[in-house]
C-alpha cells in the first residue's frame, strides 16, 4: 500500500470552492473526466448533503501502466461526497470501479474553511493505492503515486479555472457549457 498526501490553500472562501468542486467537470486543464452522473443524493436532518456520483474518466495513465494492465484508457469511479454548509466542510472519497480486482486507488479530499482567515479554504488530499496480482508491485505503486501527484496539481489548477469562470460568466448561464 502506498499513501500520498498533500495540502493546499485556495485564496477563495469555502462556498466558492465547494461550488467549484461540484462543477469541476468538464474543464480544459484536467480533461480526464468525460462523464459524470448523480446516482444518489440526500440531505439529512443536520443539513448535510450526501451525494454518490458515478464518473467516467480517461485515466491518462503512463504508457507503462497501460501495458501492464492491458486496458483501454476509460474507467469508471464512484465518488461519495458530503457537503456541510453549517460547518463549512466538504469531503469526497473517490475509488476506481474498473480494474479494482487488480488495483485499488482511493482518493480523499477535504475542503474546510481556513481556521483564521474565512476568505481562504484549506484542501487536504490523501490517496491510498493497493496493487495486487500484477508483477512489479512497488514499481507500479510508485508510478501510480507519481500520476496522482501530477493529476492533483492539475486538479488544483482546474479548480482555479472553474472559480475564475464562475466569476466572469453571468450566473444565469450554466457553468457546464464550454466552447
Amino acid at each position: 500500500m502506498k499513501i500520498w498526501t498533500s495540502q493546499h490553500i485556495f485564496d477563495h472562501d469555502w462556498a466558492t470552492v465547494a461550488t467549484a468542486a461540484l462543477n469541476k467537470y468538464p474543464n480544459p486543464v484536467s480533461p480526464s473526466v468525460i462523464g459524470c452522473d448523480v446516482v444518489d443524493r440526500t440531505i439529512n436532518s443536520s443539513g448535510v448533503i450526501h451525494s454518490h456520483r458515478l464518473l467516467l474518466a480517461n485515466w491518462g495513465i503512463a504508457p507503462a501502466l497501460n501495458k501492464i494492465f492491458n486496458m483501454n484508457e476509460l474507467g469508471y469511479a464512484s465518488e461519495h461526497s458530503t457537503i456541510d454548509a453549517r460547518r463549512r466542510v466538504m469531503t469526497a472519497r473517490t475509488r476506481n470501479l474498473t480494474l479494482n480486482r487488480f488495483i485499488s486507488i482511493e482518493e480523499r479530499l477535504e475542503y474546510t474553511e481556513h481556521p483564521t482567515d474565512s476568505s481562504k479554504t484549506l484542501l487536504k488530499q490523501e490517496a491510498t493505492i493497493n496493487v495486487e496480482k500484477v508483477p512489479l508491485t512497488s514499481y507500479v505503486e510508485t508510478l501510480v503515486a507519481k500520476t496522482i501527484n501530477t493529476n492533483a496539481t492539475k486538479g488544483r489548477l482546474a479548480m482555479e479555472w472553474v472559480i475564475d469562470r464562475m466569476r466572469t460568466v453571468p450566473s444565469s448561464e450554466p457553468t457546464e457549457q464550454l466552447a
Partner: protein, 71 residues
C-alpha cells in the same frame, strides 16, 4: 458535462441546473429544505439506474464499508 448515458442527458441537464440554482440560492444561504428538485431528480435517477444495469457497473456503496460511519 456529459452523462454516461446519452439517453439521460436531457434529464441530467435539467436536474443539474435545478440543483446548482438551489445550492447557491438556498442551501448556501442557510435554507436546507430540499423539495425544489425532487421530481426532476427522481426521473433522472431512474434513467441512470437503468443505464448502470445495462452497462453492468458494480458501484462502490458506503454501506459495504464496516469502518465508515455516516453522520
Amino acid at each position: 458535462m456529459s452523462s454516461i448515458s446519452p439517453a439521460c442527458q436531457t434529464l441530467k441537464d435539467e436536474y443539474d441546473a435545478c440543483f446548482n440554482s438551489w445550492f447557491s440560492e438556498h442551501y448556501l444561504k442557510g435554507d436546507t429544505t430540499a423539495d425544489m428538485c425532487t421530481n426532476l431528480f427522481k426521473k433522472y435517477q431512474a434513467c441512470i439506474k437503468e443505464a448502470i444495469k445495462e452497462h453492468k457497473i458494480t458501484l462502490w456503496e458506503l454501506e459495504n464499508e464496516p469502518t465508515t460511519k455516516k453522520n
